[in-house]
Symmetry: C2
Subunit: 246 residues, 2 copies
Protein backbone atom coordinates (compact mmCIF):
# COMPACT_ATOMS: atom_id res chain seq x y z
CA UNK A 1 0.00 0.00 0.00
CA UNK A 2 1.17 3.50 -0.74
CA UNK A 3 -0.58 5.55 1.90
CA UNK A 4 -1.36 9.26 2.14
CA UNK A 5 -1.28 10.31 5.79
CA UNK A 6 -2.69 13.77 5.09
CA UNK A 7 -0.90 16.93 6.24
CA UNK A 8 -0.47 15.90 9.89
CA UNK A 9 -3.24 15.46 12.40
CA UNK A 10 -5.21 12.24 12.91
CA UNK A 11 -8.42 14.12 12.13
CA UNK A 12 -7.18 14.63 8.53
CA UNK A 13 -6.17 10.99 8.01
CA UNK A 14 -8.78 8.82 6.31
CA UNK A 15 -10.09 5.60 7.87
CA UNK A 16 -8.62 3.72 4.89
CA UNK A 17 -5.15 5.13 5.63
CA UNK A 18 -5.46 4.27 9.34
CA UNK A 19 -6.52 0.71 8.47
CA UNK A 20 -3.59 0.36 6.07
CA UNK A 21 -1.11 1.39 8.77
CA UNK A 22 -2.81 -0.94 11.26
CA UNK A 23 -2.53 -3.88 8.83
CA UNK A 24 1.09 -3.25 7.87
CA UNK A 25 4.01 -5.33 9.09
CA UNK A 26 6.50 -2.83 7.65
CA UNK A 27 6.26 0.95 7.39
CA UNK A 28 8.56 2.53 4.82
CA UNK A 29 8.96 6.27 4.45
CA UNK A 30 10.74 9.54 4.96
CA UNK A 31 11.72 9.77 8.65
CA UNK A 32 9.48 12.73 9.47
CA UNK A 33 6.39 10.87 8.24
CA UNK A 34 7.22 7.53 9.87
CA UNK A 35 7.82 9.32 13.19
CA UNK A 36 4.26 10.67 13.18
CA UNK A 37 2.86 7.16 13.60
CA UNK A 38 2.45 5.22 16.82
CA UNK A 39 3.51 1.70 15.86
CA UNK A 40 3.10 -1.62 17.64
CA UNK A 41 6.11 -3.64 18.82
CA UNK A 42 5.53 -6.15 16.00
CA UNK A 43 5.67 -3.47 13.28
CA UNK A 44 9.01 -2.59 11.70
CA UNK A 45 9.79 1.00 10.76
CA UNK A 46 12.11 1.66 7.81
CA UNK A 47 12.73 5.39 8.02
CA UNK A 48 14.97 6.98 5.43
CA UNK A 49 16.31 10.34 4.42
CA UNK A 50 14.68 12.80 2.10
CA UNK A 51 15.74 12.53 -1.57
CA UNK A 52 16.15 8.72 -1.63
CA UNK A 53 12.67 8.04 -3.01
CA UNK A 54 13.79 5.39 -5.50
CA UNK A 55 15.76 3.37 -2.94
CA UNK A 56 12.77 3.56 -0.62
CA UNK A 57 10.42 2.42 -3.38
CA UNK A 58 12.66 -0.55 -4.24
CA UNK A 59 12.98 -1.55 -0.57
CA UNK A 60 9.19 -1.51 -0.25
CA UNK A 61 8.70 -3.67 -3.35
CA UNK A 62 11.42 -6.10 -2.19
CA UNK A 63 9.77 -6.51 1.22
CA UNK A 64 6.31 -6.90 -0.33
CA UNK A 65 7.65 -9.52 -2.78
CA UNK A 66 8.94 -11.44 0.25
CA UNK A 67 5.39 -11.56 1.57
CA UNK A 68 5.53 -8.66 4.04
CA UNK A 69 2.54 -6.31 4.35
CA UNK A 70 4.17 -3.00 3.46
CA UNK A 71 2.85 0.53 3.87
CA UNK A 72 4.86 3.22 2.10
CA UNK A 73 3.83 6.48 3.73
CA UNK A 74 3.69 10.01 2.33
CA UNK A 75 2.48 13.20 3.95
CA UNK A 76 -0.55 14.73 2.21
CA UNK A 77 -1.66 12.79 -0.85
CA UNK A 78 0.79 10.11 -2.06
CA UNK A 79 0.09 10.94 -5.71
CA UNK A 80 1.17 14.60 -5.53
CA UNK A 81 4.97 15.05 -5.64
CA UNK A 82 5.24 11.98 -3.43
CA UNK A 83 5.85 8.24 -3.24
CA UNK A 84 3.18 6.76 -5.56
CA UNK A 85 5.05 7.84 -8.70
CA UNK A 86 8.35 6.54 -7.29
CA UNK A 87 6.89 3.10 -6.48
CA UNK A 88 5.34 2.84 -9.94
CA UNK A 89 8.58 3.95 -11.56
CA UNK A 90 10.50 1.25 -9.64
CA UNK A 91 7.93 -1.37 -10.62
CA UNK A 92 7.98 -0.24 -14.27
CA UNK A 93 11.79 -0.50 -14.40
CA UNK A 94 11.88 -4.02 -12.91
CA UNK A 95 11.55 -7.34 -14.76
CA UNK A 96 11.36 -9.33 -11.54
CA UNK A 97 8.12 -11.34 -11.77
CA UNK A 98 7.86 -11.39 -7.97
CA UNK A 99 7.67 -7.60 -7.93
CA UNK A 100 5.06 -7.71 -10.70
CA UNK A 101 2.96 -10.08 -8.58
CA UNK A 102 2.82 -7.70 -5.61
CA UNK A 103 -0.74 -6.55 -4.92
CA UNK A 104 -0.40 -2.77 -5.02
CA UNK A 105 -2.94 -0.27 -3.75
CA UNK A 106 -2.66 3.48 -3.52
CA UNK A 107 -4.57 5.15 -0.69
CA UNK A 108 -5.34 8.82 -1.41
CA UNK A 109 -5.12 11.52 1.24
CA UNK A 110 -5.88 15.17 1.91
CA UNK A 111 -3.18 17.11 0.06
CA UNK A 112 -1.08 19.78 1.77
CA UNK A 113 -2.18 22.37 -0.77
CA UNK A 114 -5.89 21.72 -0.22
CA UNK A 115 -5.52 21.70 3.57
CA UNK A 116 -3.67 25.03 3.38
CA UNK A 117 -6.35 26.40 1.06
CA UNK A 118 -9.09 25.34 3.50
CA UNK A 119 -7.40 27.25 6.34
CA UNK A 120 -7.09 30.36 4.16
CA UNK A 121 -10.57 30.20 2.61
CA UNK A 122 -10.85 28.89 -0.95
CA UNK A 123 -7.91 30.21 -3.01
CA UNK A 124 -8.07 27.02 -5.14
CA UNK A 125 -11.78 27.61 -5.74
CA UNK A 126 -11.31 27.88 -9.48
CA UNK A 127 -8.82 26.70 -12.16
CA UNK A 128 -5.39 26.12 -10.63
CA UNK A 129 -2.11 24.24 -10.98
CA UNK A 130 0.32 22.62 -8.59
CA UNK A 131 3.96 23.05 -9.55
CA UNK A 132 7.16 21.84 -7.95
CA UNK A 133 9.88 24.50 -8.03
CA UNK A 134 12.58 21.90 -7.42
CA UNK A 135 15.11 21.56 -10.23
CA UNK A 136 16.64 18.43 -8.73
CA UNK A 137 14.85 16.19 -11.21
CA UNK A 138 13.92 18.54 -14.05
CA UNK A 139 15.80 21.34 -15.80
CA UNK A 140 15.12 24.85 -14.56
CA UNK A 141 14.15 25.87 -18.11
CA UNK A 142 11.09 23.58 -17.93
CA UNK A 143 10.05 25.23 -14.69
CA UNK A 144 10.37 28.69 -16.25
CA UNK A 145 8.29 27.63 -19.24
CA UNK A 146 5.60 26.23 -16.98
CA UNK A 147 5.54 29.36 -14.82
CA UNK A 148 5.20 31.62 -17.87
CA UNK A 149 2.31 29.63 -19.29
CA UNK A 150 0.57 29.19 -15.93
CA UNK A 151 0.87 32.95 -15.37
CA UNK A 152 -0.56 33.74 -18.82
CA UNK A 153 -3.34 31.19 -18.28
CA UNK A 154 -4.25 33.15 -15.13
CA UNK A 155 -4.22 29.93 -13.10
CA UNK A 156 -3.93 30.04 -9.33
CA UNK A 157 -0.62 28.33 -8.50
CA UNK A 158 0.35 26.20 -5.52
CA UNK A 159 4.12 25.81 -5.22
CA UNK A 160 5.55 22.62 -3.77
CA UNK A 161 9.26 22.59 -2.81
CA UNK A 162 9.44 26.39 -3.07
CA UNK A 163 12.93 26.81 -1.62
CA UNK A 164 15.69 24.93 0.20
CA UNK A 165 19.29 25.45 1.25
CA UNK A 166 20.39 23.72 -1.95
CA UNK A 167 18.01 25.82 -4.09
CA UNK A 168 18.27 29.36 -2.73
CA UNK A 169 17.66 31.54 -5.83
CA UNK A 170 14.92 29.63 -7.64
CA UNK A 171 11.95 31.10 -5.78
CA UNK A 172 13.05 34.70 -6.43
CA UNK A 173 13.47 33.88 -10.10
CA UNK A 174 10.04 32.22 -10.18
CA UNK A 175 8.43 35.26 -8.55
CA UNK A 176 10.17 37.58 -11.03
CA UNK A 177 8.62 35.61 -13.89
CA UNK A 178 5.14 35.67 -12.40
CA UNK A 179 5.45 39.42 -11.69
CA UNK A 180 5.80 40.03 -15.44
CA UNK A 181 2.17 38.93 -15.80
CA UNK A 182 0.42 39.53 -12.46
CA UNK A 183 -0.26 42.74 -10.55
CA UNK A 184 1.61 43.54 -7.31
CA UNK A 185 -1.72 43.35 -5.44
CA UNK A 186 -2.20 39.67 -6.41
CA UNK A 187 -3.13 37.70 -3.30
CA UNK A 188 -0.61 35.22 -1.89
CA UNK A 189 -1.24 32.71 0.91
CA UNK A 190 1.66 31.32 2.94
CA UNK A 191 0.88 28.29 5.10
CA UNK A 192 3.71 26.87 7.16
CA UNK A 193 3.42 23.43 8.77
CA UNK A 194 -0.36 23.50 8.35
CA UNK A 195 -1.82 20.67 10.43
CA UNK A 196 1.30 20.36 12.57
CA UNK A 197 2.48 21.92 15.83
CA UNK A 198 3.41 25.58 15.41
CA UNK A 199 1.38 25.96 12.21
CA UNK A 200 1.16 29.50 10.85
CA UNK A 201 -0.89 31.06 8.12
CA UNK A 202 -0.75 34.48 6.60
CA UNK A 203 -1.74 36.26 3.44
CA UNK A 204 0.25 38.90 1.64
CA UNK A 205 0.52 40.40 -1.85
CA UNK A 206 2.80 39.40 -4.70
CA UNK A 207 4.46 42.83 -4.58
CA UNK A 208 5.31 42.40 -0.88
CA UNK A 209 6.39 38.77 -0.98
CA UNK A 210 10.09 38.10 -0.37
CA UNK A 211 11.74 34.70 -0.66
CA UNK A 212 12.85 35.14 2.96
CA UNK A 213 9.17 34.80 3.96
CA UNK A 214 9.22 31.22 2.69
CA UNK A 215 11.07 28.10 3.77
CA UNK A 216 10.92 24.46 2.69
CA UNK A 217 7.98 23.82 5.03
CA UNK A 218 5.87 26.62 3.54
CA UNK A 219 3.07 26.04 1.03
CA UNK A 220 2.84 29.05 -1.28
CA UNK A 221 -0.49 29.69 -3.01
CA UNK A 222 -0.37 32.51 -5.50
CA UNK A 223 -3.71 33.89 -6.60
CA UNK A 224 -5.06 34.57 -10.08
CA UNK A 225 -6.30 37.97 -11.26
CA UNK A 226 -9.70 37.20 -9.69
CA UNK A 227 -8.52 35.92 -6.29
CA UNK A 228 -9.69 38.32 -3.59
CA UNK A 229 -9.69 38.78 0.17
CA UNK A 230 -11.91 40.30 2.85
CA UNK A 231 -11.68 40.82 6.61
CA UNK A 232 -12.00 37.75 8.78
CA UNK A 233 -13.38 38.77 12.17
CA UNK A 234 -11.02 40.93 14.17
CA UNK A 235 -7.84 39.94 12.36
CA UNK A 236 -6.60 38.29 9.23
CA UNK A 237 -8.51 37.78 6.01
CA UNK A 238 -10.35 35.17 4.04
CA UNK A 239 -8.87 34.59 0.60
CA UNK A 240 -10.91 32.97 -2.17
CA UNK A 241 -11.08 32.62 -5.93
CA UNK A 242 -14.64 33.11 -7.22
CA UNK A 243 -16.21 30.42 -9.35
CA UNK A 244 -17.04 32.93 -12.07
CA UNK A 245 -15.05 35.09 -14.44
CA UNK A 246 -16.19 38.44 -15.75
CA UNK B 1 -18.62 24.30 8.61
CA UNK B 2 -18.04 23.70 4.93
CA UNK B 3 -17.27 20.00 4.81
CA UNK B 4 -15.57 17.85 2.19
CA UNK B 5 -17.10 14.38 2.23
CA UNK B 6 -14.49 12.91 -0.11
CA UNK B 7 -15.49 11.09 -3.31
CA UNK B 8 -17.97 8.70 -1.71
CA UNK B 9 -17.12 5.90 0.68
CA UNK B 10 -16.82 6.31 4.46
CA UNK B 11 -13.25 5.05 4.29
CA UNK B 12 -12.29 8.20 2.31
CA UNK B 13 -14.04 10.63 4.68
CA UNK B 14 -11.80 12.18 7.31
CA UNK B 15 -12.57 11.94 11.04
CA UNK B 16 -12.88 15.75 11.09
CA UNK B 17 -15.58 15.62 8.41
CA UNK B 18 -17.46 12.85 10.25
CA UNK B 19 -17.32 14.84 13.49
CA UNK B 20 -18.60 17.95 11.69
CA UNK B 21 -21.62 16.05 10.34
CA UNK B 22 -22.24 14.51 13.76
CA UNK B 23 -22.19 17.96 15.41
CA UNK B 24 -24.44 19.63 12.84
CA UNK B 25 -28.07 20.53 13.42
CA UNK B 26 -28.56 21.39 9.74
CA UNK B 27 -27.02 19.79 6.67
CA UNK B 28 -27.07 21.94 3.54
CA UNK B 29 -26.00 20.67 0.13
CA UNK B 30 -26.64 19.34 -3.31
CA UNK B 31 -29.16 16.49 -3.01
CA UNK B 32 -26.81 13.73 -4.13
CA UNK B 33 -24.31 14.60 -1.39
CA UNK B 34 -26.87 15.04 1.40
CA UNK B 35 -28.41 11.67 0.50
CA UNK B 36 -25.13 9.90 1.13
CA UNK B 37 -25.33 10.70 4.83
CA UNK B 38 -27.22 8.81 7.52
CA UNK B 39 -28.74 11.56 9.65
CA UNK B 40 -30.38 11.47 13.07
CA UNK B 41 -34.05 12.39 13.57
CA UNK B 42 -33.00 15.70 15.17
CA UNK B 43 -30.89 16.75 12.17
CA UNK B 44 -32.49 18.75 9.38
CA UNK B 45 -31.48 18.12 5.76
CA UNK B 46 -31.68 21.02 3.28
CA UNK B 47 -31.09 19.33 -0.06
CA UNK B 48 -31.08 21.47 -3.17
CA UNK B 49 -30.58 21.22 -6.88
CA UNK B 50 -27.32 21.46 -8.72
CA UNK B 51 -26.43 24.98 -9.97
CA UNK B 52 -27.97 26.90 -7.06
CA UNK B 53 -24.71 27.23 -5.13
CA UNK B 54 -25.23 30.87 -4.15
CA UNK B 55 -28.75 30.31 -2.77
CA UNK B 56 -27.43 27.34 -0.84
CA UNK B 57 -24.53 29.38 0.55
CA UNK B 58 -26.87 32.17 1.66
CA UNK B 59 -29.28 29.71 3.30
CA UNK B 60 -26.37 28.20 5.23
CA UNK B 61 -25.14 31.59 6.45
CA UNK B 62 -28.68 32.63 7.41
CA UNK B 63 -29.19 29.46 9.46
CA UNK B 64 -25.76 29.81 11.09
CA UNK B 65 -26.46 33.45 11.96
CA UNK B 66 -29.65 32.25 13.70
CA UNK B 67 -27.49 30.05 15.92
CA UNK B 68 -27.87 26.73 14.11
CA UNK B 69 -24.86 24.42 13.70
CA UNK B 70 -24.66 24.18 9.94
CA UNK B 71 -22.65 21.79 7.78
CA UNK B 72 -22.52 22.67 4.09
CA UNK B 73 -21.43 19.50 2.33
CA UNK B 74 -19.48 19.00 -0.89
CA UNK B 75 -18.26 15.80 -2.51
CA UNK B 76 -14.46 15.54 -2.72
CA UNK B 77 -12.68 18.61 -1.38
CA UNK B 78 -14.93 21.64 -0.68
CA UNK B 79 -12.28 24.04 -1.99
CA UNK B 80 -12.05 22.57 -5.52
CA UNK B 81 -14.91 23.70 -7.80
CA UNK B 82 -17.23 23.36 -4.81
CA UNK B 83 -19.03 25.11 -1.96
CA UNK B 84 -16.21 26.82 -0.03
CA UNK B 85 -15.81 29.54 -2.67
CA UNK B 86 -19.59 30.05 -2.86
CA UNK B 87 -19.93 30.47 0.91
CA UNK B 88 -17.04 32.96 0.99
CA UNK B 89 -18.50 34.85 -1.95
CA UNK B 90 -21.87 35.10 -0.17
CA UNK B 91 -20.15 36.28 3.01
CA UNK B 92 -18.02 38.80 1.10
CA UNK B 93 -21.10 40.27 -0.59
CA UNK B 94 -23.05 40.67 2.65
CA UNK B 95 -22.94 43.61 5.06
CA UNK B 96 -25.05 41.81 7.65
CA UNK B 97 -22.99 41.89 10.87
CA UNK B 98 -24.68 38.68 12.04
CA UNK B 99 -23.30 36.85 9.00
CA UNK B 100 -19.87 38.34 9.66
CA UNK B 101 -20.01 36.99 13.22
CA UNK B 102 -20.59 33.39 12.09
CA UNK B 103 -17.69 31.14 13.10
CA UNK B 104 -16.70 29.60 9.77
CA UNK B 105 -14.48 26.56 9.31
CA UNK B 106 -13.59 24.75 6.12
CA UNK B 107 -12.91 21.03 6.44
CA UNK B 108 -10.74 19.69 3.59
CA UNK B 109 -11.35 16.33 1.96
CA UNK B 110 -9.89 13.86 -0.52
CA UNK B 111 -10.51 15.37 -3.95
CA UNK B 112 -12.19 13.42 -6.76
CA UNK B 113 -9.19 13.98 -9.02
CA UNK B 114 -6.70 12.63 -6.50
CA UNK B 115 -8.89 9.62 -5.68
CA UNK B 116 -9.18 8.84 -9.39
CA UNK B 117 -5.44 9.28 -9.80
CA UNK B 118 -4.79 6.84 -6.93
CA UNK B 119 -6.93 4.17 -8.61
CA UNK B 120 -5.09 4.65 -11.89
CA UNK B 121 -1.58 4.87 -10.44
CA UNK B 122 -0.01 8.32 -10.18
CA UNK B 123 -0.93 10.38 -13.25
CA UNK B 124 -0.77 13.55 -11.09
CA UNK B 125 2.72 12.58 -9.90
CA UNK B 126 4.26 15.70 -11.34
CA UNK B 127 3.21 19.26 -12.30
CA UNK B 128 -0.50 19.38 -13.12
CA UNK B 129 -3.56 21.59 -13.29
CA UNK B 130 -7.23 21.16 -12.52
CA UNK B 131 -9.56 22.94 -14.94
CA UNK B 132 -13.32 23.20 -15.10
CA UNK B 133 -14.61 22.94 -18.67
CA UNK B 134 -17.92 24.49 -17.71
CA UNK B 135 -18.67 27.79 -19.42
CA UNK B 136 -21.69 28.47 -17.21
CA UNK B 137 -19.74 30.97 -15.11
CA UNK B 138 -16.82 31.96 -17.34
CA UNK B 139 -16.55 32.73 -21.04
CA UNK B 140 -15.46 29.87 -23.28
CA UNK B 141 -12.59 32.03 -24.57
CA UNK B 142 -10.97 31.93 -21.10
CA UNK B 143 -11.21 28.15 -21.11
CA UNK B 144 -9.56 27.99 -24.55
CA UNK B 145 -6.74 30.26 -23.43
CA UNK B 146 -6.15 28.16 -20.33
CA UNK B 147 -6.16 24.92 -22.33
CA UNK B 148 -3.63 26.29 -24.83
CA UNK B 149 -1.26 27.45 -22.12
CA UNK B 150 -1.66 24.30 -20.02
CA UNK B 151 -0.96 22.21 -23.12
CA UNK B 152 2.15 24.24 -23.98
CA UNK B 153 3.31 24.06 -20.36
CA UNK B 154 3.10 20.26 -20.70
CA UNK B 155 1.02 20.05 -17.52
CA UNK B 156 -1.04 16.98 -16.75
CA UNK B 157 -4.67 18.17 -16.76
CA UNK B 158 -7.62 16.99 -14.70
CA UNK B 159 -10.93 18.14 -16.17
CA UNK B 160 -13.85 18.86 -13.85
CA UNK B 161 -17.32 19.29 -15.42
CA UNK B 162 -16.10 17.81 -18.73
CA UNK B 163 -19.49 17.56 -20.42
CA UNK B 164 -23.21 17.79 -19.77
CA UNK B 165 -26.47 17.87 -21.70
CA UNK B 166 -26.33 21.67 -21.67
CA UNK B 167 -22.67 21.69 -22.77
CA UNK B 168 -22.39 19.03 -25.47
CA UNK B 169 -19.65 20.41 -27.79
CA UNK B 170 -17.18 21.89 -25.33
CA UNK B 171 -15.23 18.70 -24.59
CA UNK B 172 -14.61 17.95 -28.28
CA UNK B 173 -13.40 21.50 -28.77
CA UNK B 174 -11.15 21.23 -25.71
CA UNK B 175 -9.66 17.96 -27.00
CA UNK B 176 -9.08 19.52 -30.44
CA UNK B 177 -7.06 22.28 -28.78
CA UNK B 178 -4.98 19.89 -26.71
CA UNK B 179 -4.37 17.69 -29.78
CA UNK B 180 -2.59 20.62 -31.45
CA UNK B 181 0.15 20.25 -28.83
CA UNK B 182 0.10 16.65 -27.58
CA UNK B 183 0.74 13.37 -29.40
CA UNK B 184 -2.11 10.94 -30.15
CA UNK B 185 -0.43 8.39 -27.85
CA UNK B 186 -0.74 10.71 -24.81
CA UNK B 187 -2.19 8.74 -21.90
CA UNK B 188 -5.72 9.53 -20.74
CA UNK B 189 -7.42 8.17 -17.60
CA UNK B 190 -11.21 8.07 -17.36
CA UNK B 191 -12.64 7.42 -13.91
CA UNK B 192 -16.40 7.30 -13.58
CA UNK B 193 -18.10 7.43 -10.16
CA UNK B 194 -14.81 6.52 -8.45
CA UNK B 195 -15.60 5.62 -4.84
CA UNK B 196 -19.27 5.01 -5.58
CA UNK B 197 -21.34 1.96 -6.61
CA UNK B 198 -20.70 0.95 -10.21
CA UNK B 199 -17.34 2.76 -10.35
CA UNK B 200 -15.33 2.20 -13.52
CA UNK B 201 -11.81 3.07 -14.51
CA UNK B 202 -10.06 2.81 -17.83
CA UNK B 203 -7.13 4.28 -19.64
CA UNK B 204 -6.96 5.20 -23.28
CA UNK B 205 -4.97 7.49 -25.57
CA UNK B 206 -5.71 11.06 -26.63
CA UNK B 207 -5.98 9.92 -30.26
CA UNK B 208 -8.65 7.35 -29.36
CA UNK B 209 -10.65 9.44 -26.91
CA UNK B 210 -14.14 10.45 -28.04
CA UNK B 211 -16.43 12.77 -26.11
CA UNK B 212 -18.99 9.93 -26.08
CA UNK B 213 -16.62 8.06 -23.71
CA UNK B 214 -17.18 10.77 -21.10
CA UNK B 215 -20.24 11.91 -19.15
CA UNK B 216 -20.75 14.42 -16.34
CA UNK B 217 -19.76 11.83 -13.72
CA UNK B 218 -16.43 11.10 -15.40
CA UNK B 219 -13.12 12.52 -14.19
CA UNK B 220 -10.81 12.98 -17.17
CA UNK B 221 -7.06 13.03 -16.50
CA UNK B 222 -5.00 13.86 -19.55
CA UNK B 223 -1.31 13.03 -19.32
CA UNK B 224 1.71 15.18 -20.13
CA UNK B 225 4.41 14.18 -22.64
CA UNK B 226 6.11 12.12 -19.92
CA UNK B 227 3.05 10.28 -18.56
CA UNK B 228 3.44 6.57 -19.23
CA UNK B 229 1.72 3.25 -18.63
CA UNK B 230 2.67 -0.38 -18.07
CA UNK B 231 0.81 -3.66 -17.65
CA UNK B 232 -1.03 -4.17 -14.38
CA UNK B 233 -1.26 -7.90 -13.65
CA UNK B 234 -3.46 -9.76 -16.08
CA UNK B 235 -5.42 -6.78 -17.31
CA UNK B 236 -5.42 -3.02 -17.38
CA UNK B 237 -2.46 -0.75 -16.86
CA UNK B 238 -0.85 1.48 -14.30
CA UNK B 239 -0.51 5.08 -15.46
CA UNK B 240 1.99 7.45 -13.83
CA UNK B 241 3.87 10.67 -14.45
CA UNK B 242 7.52 10.34 -13.43
CA UNK B 243 8.97 12.85 -10.99
CA UNK B 244 11.80 13.68 -13.37
CA UNK B 245 12.07 15.29 -16.76
CA UNK B 246 14.69 14.46 -19.36
Amino acid sequence: MVVGLGPGPAEWMTPEASAAIEAASDIVGYGAYVERLVLRADQRAHASDNRVEMERARLALKLAAEGREVAVVSGGDPGVFAMAAAVLEALDASDDARWGAVELNIVPGVSAAMATAAQAGAPLGHDFCMLSLSDNLKPWSIIETRLRHAAQADLVMAFYNPISRARPWQLDKALDIVREYRAPATKVVLGRDIGRPGASLRSTALGELRSGDVDMRTMVILGSSTTRGFARGVQGEWVYTPRWYE
